[in-house]
């Protein structure tokens, strides 16, 4: 063996051995990076109270956008809630692959009118989004909400996995959960629920609609449904709650599937108080708020008033 070859081979072997050893010792028992989510804590989008105005108003009109306008004007008009340049997120209930007439999702006419009003009030951008139960593409399509909201000028977002942020909800049982970022990284939050029967929570209206901001395994929330709803409602304080009571799902909720499940009420409720909104709307289902677990729990927690008359309640009948 020549000297040159001897040096080449042995130095190569030693070098490889040293590198292997160094890598081994360097990484031995090294702690792998623990995923530290950036945790968000804000969830309040309320406007200051104004005792000269009613905090909840109900309007009945066969022309649904007119009913929305009447109820909204009674609580102070859109300019009380939206300032020029603000980003607004509108959260209708877009849960199920159903047609508007089946009354499982928020009335697209109302969503479109709300978008128009926000833009007219100078909103920089209006986002309409929700975490659907059924496939988001089908649900946004067949509910008519994508088309109506986009036509009105909104940006309709079908959430993807990257759109969630880990958020500390700070609740009794809901702590850190993935929340769709458009519900947090915004200036104003308008909750636009629909009124439906629900087998476990009796009704799904305003506060229950907030389930739709969550990702993850939200089908586990039903195990403590009242507290889950109240935790969510304590975290998210919407600027305004607009309850769609144009079509009320009396049975087979929250999906329905048949117009036989629907009562036509042609009513819209605007409220600054989530609890009061639920208390008033659940009457359309033949319920009393005192008998509905999550509404009474929310009132006891101090989220709002069961007695909607006490906060200035106004009805506008056309």
């Amino acid at each position: 063996m020549e000297r040159r070859e001897f040096i080449k081979k042995t130095s190569g072997a030693i070098g490889l051995a040293v590198v292997s050893g160094l890598v081994g010792f360097e990484f031995h028992n090294r702690e792998t990076a623990v995923y530290q989510p950036h945790i968000f804590k804000t969830g309040s989008f309320e406007v200051p109270p104004d005792n000269s105005l009613p905090s909840i108003a109900l309007a009945r009109n066969e022309n649904h956008p007119a009913a929305l306008n009447a109820a909204l004007d009674a609580v102070g008009g859109i300019r009380r809630f939206i300032r020029p340049g603000e980003r607004v997120t509108v959260k209708p209930n877009v849960g199920w692959d159903r047609l508007p007439k089946q009354g499982a999702n928020t009335n697209p006419e109302l969503v479109a009118e709300m978008v128009r009003l926000c833009l007219a009030a100078g909103a920089a951008e209006v986002i309409v989004t929700d975490i659907t139960c059924n496939d988001a593409r089908r649900t946004f399509l067949r509910s008519g909400i994508k088309e109506a909201a986009e036509r009105a000028g909104a940006r309709v977002i079908l959430a993807s996995e990257d759109d969630f942020v880990m958020t500390d909800l700070g609740g009794e049982i809901l702590t850190v959960w993935p929340v769709l970022k458009y519900f947090i990284e915004t200036d104003r939050f308008i909750n636009m629920p629909i009124t439906k029967q629900h087998s476990l929570s009796s009704c799904t209206i305003a506060m229950k609609n907030l389930y739709g901001i969550l990702g993850g395994r939200r089908n586990q929330l039903h195990q403590q449904i009242d507290q889950s709803i109240v935790d969510l409602a304590s975290f998210v304080r919407p600027t305004l709650t607009v309850v769609d009571v144009t079509r009320v799902m009396m049975r087979n909720g929250p999906q329905g599937g048949s117009v036989a499940d629907i009562n036509i009420e042609n009513t819209v409720i605007c409220s600054l108080d989530q609890v009061a909104a639920d208390a008033r709307a659940c009457e359309f289902l033949g319920l009393k708020a005192e008998n509905v677990g999550h509404i009474t729990l929310a009132a006891r927690t101090g989220l709002g008033n069961l007695d909607y008359n006490s906060i200035g309640y106004k009805e506008i009948m056309s």
């Binding site: 199920w96 692959d97 047609l99 139960c133 059924n134 496939d135 988001a136 593409r137 089908r138 946004f140 399509l141 067949r142 008519g144 088309e147 079908l158 629900h198 087998s199 476990l200 395994r217 089908n219 586990q220 039903h222 195990q223 403590q224 449904i225 049975r251 087979n252 929250p254 999906q255 329905g256 599937g257 048949s258 117009v259 036989a260 499940d261």
Partner: protein
């Protein structure tokens, strides 16, 4: 037009048809931008199955198996009739798998650099080329006996299946992983570029949601095997395996177009053999096999002396220095007979097993509108179009759920996705009618029609929260899409571990109302093995696989109300 121009036309044709095929598979997808119709019914905006409908083998085999040529399969005559006159132009000019094999085979390598005898020898007609004819006769005989097996090796089904259920879902995870890795480096300009590229490509190539498919490994391994074989033998699949190529070869029997050799001017350079795709012996001095020729025209284009010429009514006779060409496939009657008997015998052997009906898997849940199992197996070509188009990723290739006979046919796996009641896309894309095309009304049911059922749900009381764990949960009932709901609740008082009374609502199933859609199983919070699950029993398509003496019509709908 010189021969080189024509060869370039062939190359362009290959690129275009491959592009169309790939694009159609991309479009076999639920797109966000569909416009709603008045009835809320959703239709695909493209005839995405047209490529599969051009397949004469599918048309012939389904005709033999069930006696009809379904919907668009008549288009296959567009391929078959010119083949009868021209030969296997489809393989060389159109077939996307042939094109892929061609490209992979021609990537430069040690093997191709070795331009000598080895390469020329491997491009000569070989006995293994006969295998494809045996496969063809076996499958055709099996079709005649009522079991459609051609989909396993039909090139268009094979490629659609490989792209739709293996390549694109794999690319999806791969692209996301790559993007995440680039971003994790923390190098901002690179991340921005990666994101930019991703944003451009993802709407075209990636689906709305990452798809996952059952038994992807068997499909992936087969695809890899087909691709890798090209590196050992040029177009191994096309030469040795492809039953469609075999069929087109057989139909070239009376072709009036072919290769004429002029031995007098040939200098014996054998460049023609070096570049031959079909391994059909284009050189003088060897017997040209028309059924093997894919009309790539490489031989004529590479011939320096102009001794080879494709023309109408060529002289195929023996000339001095060159034996006569043949238009017959190189297998004997005896072997045709043996293959046919083998194919015929295969089907009773399948059926003598237990996977068909006798001990059918309870999870053999076919897509909505599927035909009865016997007719289903006469039609399904395992192209996986239904799986790709399903918006819920509910449909999957089987592995052994329907036995070896039904490998890679579709089943619904509700844990991954349920059947959306108003969705009819799988029936829309099925090129052979294994899944019949339902209207929304036929699927959901109305006053006169029972809903289409794919199975029935059952509660596993040992795993169900209100039944076994004194814990409230109504998620299955909430998700049940029928109206009235097939899952109903009974409030019961149960005792928890501390001895306290708890009121829970326990779910029950009404088999009269259940359509087996699987939404309950999908939504059940007992996530690894759901406490409510569907099995195939009660499926509309079967006469025998039933529970109830008679299923009532939906009571509310009998009252004549609108859905």
């Amino acid at each position: 037009m010189t021969i080189k121009t024509v060869r370039n036309l062939r190359r362009i044709s290959q690129i275009i048809f491959f592009g169309i095929f790939f694009w159609l598979i991309l479009k076999t997808n639920f797109e966000v931008n569909f416009s709603p119709t008045e009835s809320g019914e959703i239709f695909l905006s493209y005839p995405v199955s047209i490529a599969l409908e051009l397949d004469p083998l599918t048309a012939l085999a389904t005709l033999l198996a069930n006696g009809t040529i379904y919907k668009g399969l008549l288009w296959s005559l567009v391929v078959l009739i010119p083949t009868i006159f021209m030969g296997r132009f489809f393989c060389g000019w159109v077939c996307p798998l042939g094109t892929l094999n061609h490209w992979i085979s021609e990537i430069p390598s040690e093997r191709l650099k070795r331009k000598g005898r080895g390469k020329i020898e491997s491009n000569r007609y070989k006995k293994y080329h006969r295998i494809k004819y045996y496969i063809f006769f076996v499958f055709i005989a099996a079709a005649l006996a009522g079991s459609l097996q051609i989909g396993v090796l039909d090139p268009l089904s094979f490629l659609a299946r490989s792209i739709g259920t293996v390549i694109l879902p794999t690319a999806h995870i791969g692209a996301n992983g790559l993007l995440g890795w680039v971003k994790s480096t923390g190098f901002a300009p690179l991340s921005a570029i990666a994101q930019f590229i991703y944003n451009i490509l993802s709407p075209v190539f990636l689906t709305f949601r990452q798809a996952h498919f059952h038994t992807i490994l068997t499909l992936g391994l087969m695809f890899i095997a087909v691709i890798v074989m090209n590196r050992i033998f040029t177009r191994f699949w096309c030469r040795g395996i492809c039953p469609l190529g075999a069929m087109l070869g057989i139909f070239s029997r009376y072709a009036i177009f072919g290769l004429e050799k002029k031995a007098s001017t040939c200098d014996g350079c054998q460049k023609c053999v070096l570049h031959c795709q079909g391994a059909d012996n284009p050189d003088t001095g060897a017997k040209w096999h028309q059924p093997e020729c894919v009309l790539c025209l490489n031989c004529q284009a590479s011939c320096p002396t102009g001794s080879l010429k494709f023309k109408f009514f060529p002289n195929l006779e023996k000339t001095e220095g060159s034996p006569a060409s043949t238009q017959r496939v190189d297998i004997s009657r005896r072997k045709v007979l043996a293959s046919t008997i083998g194919g015929l015998a295969m089907v009773p052997m399948f059926r003598a097993g237990d996977a068909f009906e006798i001990n059918a898997d309870s999870k053999l849940i076919r897509p909505p509108g599927s035909m009865a199992e016997n007719e289903f197996l006469q039609r399904c070509i395992r192209c996986s179009q239904c799986m790709r188009v399903c918006p819920n990723n509910a449909l999957h290739p089987t592995f052994m759920e329907s036995g070896l006979e039904g490998i890679w046919t579709p089943i619904l796996i509700a844990k991954i996705g349920y059947c959306e009641p108003t969705c009819t896309l799988c029936g829309q894309v099925c090129p052979t009618g294994a899944i019949t095309e339902l209207t929304q009304r036929e699927k959901v049911g109305d006053n006169d029609t029972r809903p289409n059922r794919i199975g029935t749900a059952f509660i596993n009381r040992g795993r169900c929260l209100p039944w076994a764990m004194a814990t409230p949960c109504i998620v299955c009932e909430e998700w049940c899409p029928t109206s009235p709901k097939a899952i109903y609740l009974r409030e019961e008082t149960v005792i928890d571990s501390r001895g306290e009374e708890v009121k829970v609502k326990q779910p029950h199933i009404d088999p009269n109302l259940c359509t087996g859609c699987g939404a309950c199983e999908y939504a059940c919070p007992v996530s690894d093995k759901a406490a409510v699950y569907i099995t195939a029993v009660g499926e509309s398509r079967s006469v025998s696989n039933q529970i109830l003496l008679q299923r009532r019509k939906n009571e509310r709908r009998i009252q004549g109300e609108e859905i």
